[in-house]
Subunit: 198 residues, 2 copies
């Protein structure tokens, strides 16, 4: 990794942390320049526009998500064990990364849902890829005989996403100390309903 | 309702619509004054501060939520029928009210989760009341014999909230045309797991 790449990486980490607190709309090139004590024109040269900065920040966060949530779970055996590993990593995600304001994707989803543009397009693409990855892991659980053949992988991915969202909401907004227990119970109920009868 | 109340109501409807698009942080007294073609000083007299405006906007939205989601469901028989009515009203909520940018509570949850203050306090109170109301409806379903005695009402409310969140995410961000079908399947699975064996 060259020096240019390192600098770009460091800038995007800071942009990501800021976006998690101020939202992607609050992440302006001017504000980021102030935080980093860099010139605004230098940052403009890097990102061209606020939207360019938003897009690259989302992509940087997605790389980290893949590295910290998806990739380590691939070490777990296919099927239910891998889904469990994904779930545990996913719950830890908001704490693992430089996002003091919570998961950037959750925040961006409500910000960008009514704002057409390149940032929205990237976010939608990333979320669809994640749902497809989850559905693929469910398909493997059916193939392995852990889940019964009637399980709908896309429905399971949708349900699992709901658990992750309500967990994020309960821990971050409500500061509910039972959120972890509740999220695990919800996940266990999904597994129980999907599991092949012995 | 006096003229003053009507004016206040109309101002808060507009504030709510704006907040759903720009976020609560984007809802400034200056911006609202511009939208309404009113003087900034007049609005300041009404709301005292940006936070006062945020708080009253959230409270106004909560009154509407109670009127359009909770109250009509009370006409349905206690237990499972009432929970079904709540669920259907809840899914329609984001379309029913003047919130072109989606549910104000979902947006505010990610905005305010790391911002201590009066607006956060009001939002947390409203969300806890809603979860408690849901849990109360589940308790009635147990009393009516629709659900078995082992059902945990707070867990059911948590799970149901997750379905509502992933539905909002799937319709608004992903524009997934299957979101309605998936949300209903998720809800039916919750009911099936809770139902008393005949």
């Amino acid at each position: 990794m060259g020096k240019g790449e390192q600098t770009r990486g460091a800038i995007l980490e800071r942009a990501w942390a800021l976006a998690s607190q101020l939202g992607l709309e609050g992440l302006t090139i001017g504000r980021l320049a102030e935080e980093l004590d860099l010139s605004k024109s230098g940052l403009f040269a890097h990102f061209q526009s606020k939207e360019g900065l938003q897009v690259q920040t989302l992509e940087r966060a997605a790389e980290h998500f893949a590295e910290s949530v998806a990739k380590p779970a691939l070490a777990a055996p296919r099927g239910e064990p891998r889904l469990r590993a994904i779930f545990e990593n996913w719950l830890r995600w908001a704490q693992m990364a430089p996002q003091p304001g919570g998961c950037i994707f959750v925040a961006a989803a409500t910000e960008l849902d009514d704002r057409p543009g390149a940032a929205r397009d990237v976010l939608v693409k990333l979320q669809k890829e994640w749902l497809a990855f989850l559905a693929g892991c469910v398909r493997l659980a059916v193939q392995e005989g852990h889940f019964h053949r009637g399980v709908d992988p896309e429905q399971f991915a949708f349900d699992l996403y709901g658990v992750a969202l309500v967990w994020h909401f309960s821990t971050r907004l409500l500061r509910d100390r039972k959120a972890g227990v509740r999220a695990h119970r919800a996940f266990d109920a999904l597994l129980a309903a999907a599991r092949a009868r012995a």
